[in-house]
Amino acid sequence: MSINKKIVDDFVANDVTFITTVPCKQLGSVMEEIETRPEIYHIPANKEDEGMGLCAGAFMGGKRPAIIMQNTAIGVTINTLVTLIQFYRMPLPMLISYRGELKESVACQVEMAVHTKALLNQLRIPTYHFHQQDDAREFDTILKYTFMCNKPVAILTDATFWEGS
């Protein structure tokens, strides 16, 4: 099974049916897979904080939301994560492309990569890092954990992980 299919299957199995995205090259295939699923309402956002607002509304309307974005978006969304998602205690799985890791070709991406885990740690956001294909086996459990604890949870997926797909 392709890794994209596995990830989206896990979303559907956990009733995650409202997904907002801001694209990244590494995440293109998983977004394409989402588009093929009638169970999922896919709503592209123009900026990640806007996407988190959409997710907050969908959650209060009874849907389970998720956001798919690049790690640079951590810089964009700190205020929203803290004053909306965490302050009101809302669950939000964040499937994040971890740009700037090994096999990165764009130097500027490394500048944000070196801050990514430190920022997530400072925000006390539970963080998982998928480096090898096998790591995705935990995705289903991570989604269950997110909706159990009503917190934002980060799943960082790096180039080595996606290369194996």
């Binding site: 709503i43 123009n46 607002g53 907050a56 509304g57 209060m60 909306l84």
Partner: protein, 184 residues
Amino acid sequence: MIRSEIFRDIAPRLRDQLVICNIGLPSQELHMIDDQPTNFYMLGTMGLASSIGLGLALAQPKTVIAIDGDGSVLTNFGTLPTIANNVADNFILLIIDNGSYGSTGDQPTYAGKKTSLAAVARACGCGNVVECRAEETGKALQAALDSRKMTIIVCKCESGNIKVPVITKDPVVIRDRFMTAVTA
């Protein structure tokens, strides 16, 4: 008319609807004038009332009114194309456009100068964009409710604030009370 006078005027029409209310004085004023479990007060995160409102409208069938300000729409302009391209006919975006950042001391916004939010919304592809004077807000809101079509109302009003207490309710209480009202 200033924003709080508009709220007093339209409160009876808001009472039975799900309302997402903008950060700062708008939420504090609505909370003081007519607190309802169907009101979700934003205590932080400037700019996202319209996004939260759209997400809520897409997720369930009840009518949702997002009350936003011109300054907040300017800070999250990306919301307008998203609204235009994800039509939810149970969604009304009411922009109280007083041409100023009210909660921070009435500094002027560009919406009070050359920029027309109604024109921007139309250019983004939004249908049913209505611009009205403050006095006509209730009528415009009722027309939008009756139409059952996604509508954006830009209400042009005077800037000015009244003294209001801050909201001391716990955010989780606000959210839980609101979610109970959503499913009631």
